[in-house]
Symmetry: C2
């Protein structure tokens, strides 16, 4: 119905509907109606519903990736960088209109269609892993398996969005709590997580 780029409008409406109804319950008819089109007209812009999902997830993915790239090249000790990453990631995830985990799951079942997603995800994982590894090396983090730690960090972030959507709260507060707990469990005994938290 409105002006702008139809693709843009569809994606915005899709994000909202996915969040409200879930992906499964968001039919192409509802989505089309939302932007003032007939159901079959959507197929002019997207081959199918999954392509809408893919387009949406492609954008959501950019945020954490840019976040960590920026942090890696910035300065500060590793725990501080990690703290900022988790806080930023959680905050961004909680701001999404839809459930990232649901999209994540759909993507997981179709590795080929969502190849880009998985590549970026793998890159994010590598960046985070090597950041953790650096921390273990320089003694600012405990001696844990960096790959396991990285996976756990990402799991916490995404898992958090799960319940956040059910029980809304100030995103920043939640993000700080998750960051403090998660990174607090990683820092070496000598380092005080509260000091890092207040510095971040």
């Amino acid at each position: 119905m409105a002006a702008g780029d139809p693709i843009e409008e569809v994606l915005i409406a899709a994000g909202r509907l996915f969040g409200q109804l879930g992906v499964e319950a968001t039919t192409m008819s509802k989505l089309a109606a939302e932007v003032g089109l007939g159901q079959s007209s959507l197929y002019y812009y997207f081959r199918n519903r999954d392509e809408v999902v893919a387009a949406l997830v492609a954008r959501a993915n950019v945020v954490p990736l840019e976040l960590i790239e920026g942090l890696v090249h910035g300065d500060g000790i590793v725990p501080l960088k990690l703290y900022r990453f988790v806080r930023g990631d959680v905050e961004a995830l909680c701001g999404l209109p839809f459930d990232i985990n649901e999209i994540h799951r759909i993507a997981g079942r179709q590795r080929d269609r969502f190849a880009d997603y998985w590549q970026e995800r793998a890159l994010l994982d590598r960046r985070l892993t090597s950041l953790v590894r650096a921390g273990v090396r320089d003694g600012s983090l405990r001696d844990i398996d960096p790959r396991l730690a990285s996976a756990t960090i990402l799991a916490s972030d995404e898992g958090t969005q799960n319940w956040f959507r059910l029980r809304p709260q100030p995103a920043r507060r939640v993000a700080d709590a998750v960051a403090r707990i998660t990174i607090g469990g990683l820092v070496a005994p000598g380092i005080d997580i509260d000091e890092i938290a207040s510095e971040a």
Copy 2:
């Protein structure tokens, strides 16, 4: 096709198929075929597909609840109890044939149909919250919001199952890592998480 209780058989097959294909892609035809029934025969045992989901989730829910009940009444300091809870919960979740988060999400969209689920979930949350609160009181945990901490613990546990299913590993190892990180971020500065980990 086999002997036993048809309901039982359907649930077992459903767990497997939900895990392999996802809930959405598991059609009633496939499910029926799996147990040697016609598609419409399933509706004799279950009103619809969501009822299969509900039956499955009802069982999965029991495990963490029993786990924490047992721990609360046992002895040991709070961090030790929490460590054991997280490890047990993660291990149990990783052992499920299906993705608990997907079921979680479906349940979230239908509060009334899954009322039992939400009640048990709320109970679990209360138990965990009050355990954390006890730890904060007696000084074995840092001064954090117990509700936020409890939510974060559960989010980590469930979020972990997410990637665990994609990248299988020894469940115990993963469970230990998650417990060490999560609870490590909660314990008061004086307490050594490694000591707790080796005691658990």
